[in-house]
Symmetry: D2
Subunit: 132 residues, 4 copies
């Protein structure tokens, strides 16, 4: 299992006229956490791009339980629970203190820089397999 | 069934460094389409707020098939397929010409302006029931 | 003089917890208006990119008088008042009905796709000079 | 003089199809830095809101020198150079390493929660005056 935690503070820009974080913005936080998780196995996303890969989202799902507010301290946990083959599932939990605010997952597949689906880079799978 | 269509042009601001629309932004387009759908039954969202209601998202799901690009002409279809009780499901299809780019749904429930869940306003249900 | 008008409706996503449009978002509307203005002289921005150019902002200035709110009908006027040489100045007025909400300007210069400053494409200057 | 520094890492969501940070997003970073600066004098923005104040932007100016890219480490310096009376000017410098990317300023005035201009809260001026 691969797991990684990311901390952030809610920006005023991320709120909406309901006074809470706009629902689409949680996907940005999931991405930040995913980026940190890739860094944690020595496979930074900026490196992937240089190697000629992107790792786009082809499915996203979020369950909203409590809203985050401006200036809240947030912790995002990203987790890959199963060794992936072609499709990569990442699960998320977004918390403020002990309270679970949002949970969800995204599904990913590697593409080349023209957007054509390709096999995951070998060293990505090697580095990942050390965790399973 | 209640269905409504919304047209928009992709803004440069909505793209990311992959050269396509950033995945979270499709949720904004779903919302625009939802707002238009509410207008189409004479229940504008700004009116709901004046009546003391918000209609937040408690679940969101998107499947990404093809990416939208800067300056593309986009059509978003929002649909309520079943007469809702407390939970309201809205389905979406986002197209560029004939091509389906993204599909998905959001789940909603009415809350008061303090965020406490409440029953849907009666005239919302009345106006909606005319469509089913 | 080259002038162009763009209409839009304020998205809920564009508001913040003050209940009004977040101040950075007006720059997006200026850009939409700039894109429409380029289209109006047969020089679409997507075409510029294909020709190997970008037209980034190197200076931006906004004066905020009244805030826009969710669902407001907005009109953005973009104007090039003087025939440009290397630097291109675009002025903006953002209105809701008769009320001027925001005014400002952006300064631009052509760069190639690697970000290196270059002379404006000749057909851009030709098409623009017909307006002056 | 009041000065404060904020560090952040560029999010992929903040980039656009030019491969660099979208120009409007630097205003978000200025705001983050402004929020940190207010915290540094014991006058958190969330506290201001509870006291019945907002501190909106009525003017913004940015000069763009070099673009920030995904994953860059950014430092934003916010500075109040002169003791303000009614209008508050904040200056910014946004750097990546030694390189100055963007500089600019924003102008602010206190309003109540209905948006009506009011005098700055006395304890804000007291805390600020300790720095001048």
């Amino acid at each position: 299992m691969l797991e990684s935690k990311t901390r952030l503070k809610v920006r005023f820009a991320e709120t909406d006229a309901m006074g809470v974080v706009y629902h689409a913005n949680y996907l940005e936080w999931c991405e930040m956490s995913r980026v940190d998780m890739m860094n944690s196995i020595g496979m930074p996303y900026s490196e992937l791009i240089k190697m000629g890969y992107h790792l786009p989202v082809f499915e996203a799902h979020l369950n909203y339980k409590y809203p985050a507010k401006f200036d809240d301290d947030i912790e995002v946990t990203a987790k890959i629970a199963e060794m992936p083959s072609v499709k990569i599932r990442v699960d998320y939990e977004i918390r403020s203190g002990d309270r679970l605010l949002v949970s969800g997952y995204t599904m990913h597949a590697f593409v080349n820089l023209k957007g054509v689906p390709v096999k995951p880079p070998r060293n990505f799978l090697e580095k990942l397999s050390e965790k399973f």
